[in-house]
Structures are given as structure tokens and as C-alpha cells.
């Protein structure tokens, strides 16, 4: 109990100091100065090196090379293409009802479009042919 009474001011002081620090940090981040500071930090060589190292580490953890255009990535792609599982997945996707339905819908749409074009052209050909026939027979259009 006595210990609590003795430590209470110290704890309260620490809590207030923490709140004050966080409030100051929030104010700084919200200000133009804070924005500028973050930009500068991100533009710094140190930050760039740190980000590059983090990305490389993540890629290494995934078991392959660090960059997309690296030989390791080429090997990964080649292995992927050789694997039967990939083609099984591709087959599954290709045969899925959603994909086949989409293809059917697109084909029907295309056929409709072609039929529409034929109709439009045939109707304008009708008009031209009739104009020519009426001219030949000297009949009023």
C-alpha cells in the first residue's frame, strides 16, 4: 500500500509525459514540417537501401532471386511452366462454368454483331438497288 502511494506520482508523471510526447508527434506529423521530414527520410539513401534490403530478404525467403528480370526469376517461370499442376489449374479454370459462360456470351454477342452488320448493309444495298432500278425505269422514287 505504501509502495503504491510512493510510486503513484512517478507513474502519473510517466503517463502524462507519454501523452505529451504522442500529442507533439501527432502535431508534427500533421504539420508541413512533418510531411517534409517524412519525404526527406524516404528520399534518403539510407531509407532506399533499407527498403531494397527488405524486399530482397522477402524474395529470398520465398526461395527465389530478388529481382523480376533475374535468372532466378526466369528459372522460376520455367519451372512453373513445366509443372503439371499449373496446367491442371489452367484446365480447371478453362472448364469452369463462369469462364465457359463468359465465352458463350461473347460468341453470341459477336454473332449478333455480325448479323446486325449484315442487316444494315443489306438494307442500304436494297435502297441503292431500288434507286438504280427506278432511275432506269424513270419512275419517281
Amino acid at each position: 500500500m505504501i509502495r503504491e502511494i510512493v510510486l503513484w506520482p512517478a507513474r502519473e508523471l510517466g503517463r502524462r509525459a507519454e501523452r505529451l510526447t504522442l500529442a507533439t508527434l501527432d502535431a508534427m506529423l500533421a504539420s508541413r514540417v512533418g510531411e517534409e521530414a517524412v519525404d526527406r527520410v524516404l528520399d534518403s539513401e539510407l531509407a532506399k537501401r533499407a527498403i531494397a534490403r527488405a524486399v530482397e530478404r522477402v524474395a529470398d525467403e520465398m526461395g527465389e532471386g530478388p529481382a523480376l528480370d533475374s535468372p532466378a526469376m526466369d528459372r522460376l517461370v520455367a519451372r512453373l511452366l513445366e509443372s503439371d499442376e499449373l496446367w491442371l489449374i489452367v484446365d480447371e479454370i478453362a472448364q469452369s462454368p463462369a469462364v465457359t459462360e463468359a465465352i458463350t456470351r461473347q460468341s453470341v454477342g459477336f454473332a449478333d454483331q455480325v448479323a446486325g452488320q449484315v442487316r444494315d448493309r443489306s438494307r442500304s444495298a436494297d435502297a441503292r438497288l431500288e434507286r438504280a432500278a427506278r432511275r432506269m425505269l424513270r419512275r419517281e422514287p
Binding site: 442487316r119 443489306s122 438494307r123 444495298a125 436494297d126 435502297a127 438497288l129 427506278r134 419512275r139
Partner: protein, 159 residues
């Protein structure tokens, strides 16, 4: 304004129908030929069978057009081109009228298709077969079923 249909549109629709008729006839013919190849038929029987095939083909052609014209007013080719055969008052063609139209269509085609030329100059774009069977060919979107078609005197030629 009634959307009477012209020669090119109708010719394309007819070409589609002719392709369907011939394709079906071809498939049936090949099937029958294969079936008959198993059996040994004499020369005379072969001639009779060929004649029967010819009659069947003609009957199939008549039935195709007559049934479609008198039931829906549209053959598959007409449907593709969005046109419809109907009576002058806009009603469906009667079976007898459909048969007459088919016969007249054959007649119109005999003198080098000259019977179809009136379509180019007639006010309602009618060929010889249309005149004989008292039918017209209209656009489906412009002329819904059971809508009366105006006579030539009151309807100018559509563009």
C-alpha cells in the same frame, strides 16, 4: 411507316434457308446412303430410291417454308435478317396461302428470277409470288405481329 423489305435482304434470308435445307438433306442423304450400302439393292431399286429421294427433298423444301411461314411467319433465315412474311393485313399467312406462295416463288424463279424483279419497283416491295399469294415481307422490329399493314395508296415506300 411500314418497313417493307427489299430484294437483297430477302435474298440473304433465302440463302440461309437454302443452306439449312441442303445441309439437312445432305446429312439425311449420307445417312441413307450408308444404310443402303449395307444392303444389296438392284439397279432398278436404286433408280426408284433416287426418285423417292428427289420427291422427299422437294417435299422437305415445301414443308420447311410452308410450316415456318404459316406458324411463325419467319424461317430461320428470316429470323436472322429480322424480317417476317405476313398477309397484307399483317396477320399470319394461312397454310394454303403459304403453299401458294412457295409454288409462285418457284414460278418466279423459273424465268431467270425475273419474277422477283417487281420487288425493286413495287410500292410495297412485292415480288410475283407476293402478289399472287397476297403477302408482304416486313421488318420485325418495325412491324409487330397482328398490326395492320396499310395499303399501297396510303403508305409511301420506305427509304
Amino acid at each position: 411507316m411500314t418497313d417493307y423489305q427489299g430484294l437483297v435482304t430477302r435474298a440473304i434470308a433465302f440463302a440461309v434457308d437454302a443452306a439449312i435445307i441442303n445441309l439437312v438433306a445432305l446429312l439425311v442423304g449420307v445417312g441413307m446412303g450408308l444404310a443402303l450400302s449395307i444392303l444389296s439393292v438392284g439397279d432398278e431399286a436404286e433408280v426408284v430410291l433416287l426418285a423417292c429421294g428427289g420427291v422427299a427433298f422437294f417435299a422437305w423444301s415445301i414443308a420447311y417454308f410452308a410450316v415456318f411461314w404459316s406458324t411463325t411467319g419467319q424461317t430461320p433465315g428470316d429470323r436472322l435478317m429480322q424480317i417476317r412474311v405476313c398477309r397484307e393485313d399483317g396477320e399470319l399467312v394461312r397454310p394454303r396461302q403459304a403453299l401458294l406462295r412457295f409454288g409462285a416463288m418457284v414460278l418466279a424463279a423459273l424465268p431467270l428470277f425475273a419474277g422477283f424483279l417487281p420487288v425493286l419497283v413495287d410500292d410495297r416491295r412485292r415480288g410475283l409470288h407476293d402478289m399472287l399469294a397476297e403477302t408482304v415481307v416486313v421488318g420485325v422490329s418495325a412491324e409487330p405481329r397482328s398490326t395492320r399493314v396499310p395499303r399501297a395508296s396510303s403508305s409511301p415506300v420506305p427509304p
